[in-house]
Symmetry: C2
Subunit: 280 residues, 2 copies
């Protein structure tokens, strides 16, 4: 509506026009508001499952046993209905799972004690797959995180930070995924896969106040670690770690929500966890 037009219009019409403009503005803004109320179907964005299935191929630490599924019933019963059920057995740490802080720090949260709010939040994905493809003993450094920030901005407080080493694509090939398919304590020194450097862990906890961290390898400390200093650095601050994540290649650098819900084992050091991302 031009000034010229306003000048040519009788005062009464001017007033009506203004009232109309106010009304239209209110209408447009209200419809926006209404939209945000109506469009509450959950989830609104695409859901990505970041979880490997538990089966006979599920990868565990060389010193732990495999996932075992024992069939209890499968077939039509005497009463005429179909019935199928199993019993299973597993180590707490294998497959896509969470390390509760208690795993490496006495007195820290067990898996059932982790606040649910700490397992849900906005995610960021730091892609270090190029460096990791060249060095299976690579430890992700503060510089890798700062490089991400240069491109995408400061990692927001309360983020869940995912590290894409690229090793997820080797699942379930133990040799390529973790350096060896041998079992027992003798295999531990043959473990080779990337992890998060203890300094970078401390930086993320102290300088960026992240809720949790996760990656696509069997352990947040790199394969050659003997003192598990990254675990300790995180867990003494009650920050849990998600390990053996799947499908990190389907995530953007930012703009997704993470929900990681662990099996609620009372006093557990960790356990199977269903981890999902919702694209924002």
């Amino acid at each position: 509506m031009s000034r010229l037009y306003l000048k040519k219009t009788p005062r009464r019409l001017n007033y009506v026009a203004r009232q109309m403009r106010t009304f239209m503005l209110t209408l447009v803004l209200s419809s926006f508001l209404s939209f945000s109320v109506v469009a509450q179907d959950f989830p609104e964005g695409k859901v990505i499952d970041l979880t490997h299935s538990y089966d006979e191929e599920t990868i565990y630490w060389p010193t732990a046993g495999d996932f075992e599924l024992a069939n209890v019933a499968a077939g039509v019963t005497e009463e005429g209905y179909y019935y199928y059920a199993n019993r299973f057995s597993a180590a707490e740490h294998g497959g896509t799972h969470i390390d509760a802080p208690r795993h490496f720090f006495e007195g820290a949260n067990t898996v059932d004690q982790i606040p649910l709010e700490q397992l849900m939040g906005h995610g960021v994905l730091v892609d270090v797959s190029e460096k990791c493809s060249k060095d299976p003993d690579y430890q992700i450094e503060i510089d890798d995180l700062l490089k991400w920030e240069e491109e995408f901005g400061t990692i927001p407080v309360d983020s869940i930070v995912f590290l894409k080493t690229g090793y997820g694509k080797h699942w379930p090939d133990r040799v390529r995924y973790m350096g060896t398919d041998e079992r027992g304590s003798g295999a531990l020194q043959k473990l080779h896969f990337p992890g998060l450097h203890p300094d970078a862990a401390r930086w993320l906890v102290e300088e960026r106040k992240m809720k949790a961290v996760g990656l696509d390898t069997p352990s947040i400390d790199y394969g050659q670690s003997t003192l598990f200093e990254t675990h300790v650095a995180l867990f003494e601050k009650n920050v849990p770690a998600l390990e053996n994540l799947a499908h990190l290649d389907q995530l953007p650098a930012k703009g997704f929500t993470v929900i990681a819900l662990p099996m609620k084992i009372k006093g557990g050091s960790g356990g199977p966890t269903r981890v999902i991302a919702i694209l924002e």
Copy 2:
């Protein structure tokens, strides 16, 4: 601003006042909009854990074994760091868990095949605890659901429907929760707890197109069921059931989002599931 005031004000001021009003209106509505964009921290509402912990008291079907947790390590290692880990064993159906449709219907979805979108959505809570407190063999009827709708409106398509029998408060007392603490097949006929009537299950699936159903008893069929017709009615339509839910007394009749993430057991008939609600 009164008409009288407007009349007493010079025209120029009138114009300014109107412009000001438009500006303020825009500001107020915009700030609402900005708020809805900024306040994206997830989760926005209060989170309620609807999951019982797995421990030695966890309730299983009389014919199934208990939850077993075996300690593997707990203490300071030779290398000087603290380390704690366990192995566990469980039936798929016990504690707060999901029945995958395959549990009672051949060819239907196993637990790993249930689409994640079906396990997330807006919840409704139908409170039938008064009737159930008087009759431990009560089967929730279509009329109970219609009564809910009279008060709160039609159950929206794609809802997750929770039934509060009130039996959750008896956990983990087996006698009060399910009628008997005996074990083995001889105990089955002594089971007494409420469930969903097969007709009401069919109605919810066909007439209200719900995503999933859940309740605070050990089984979606009532304790005295011998043919498990509600399980079949749901599962032939690939609608899963959540059983042994906790803390349903903390939920309103509507206005909450449900997220139920099961352990991803390949080919599983069900399994431990972390179920949460976020108040909207």
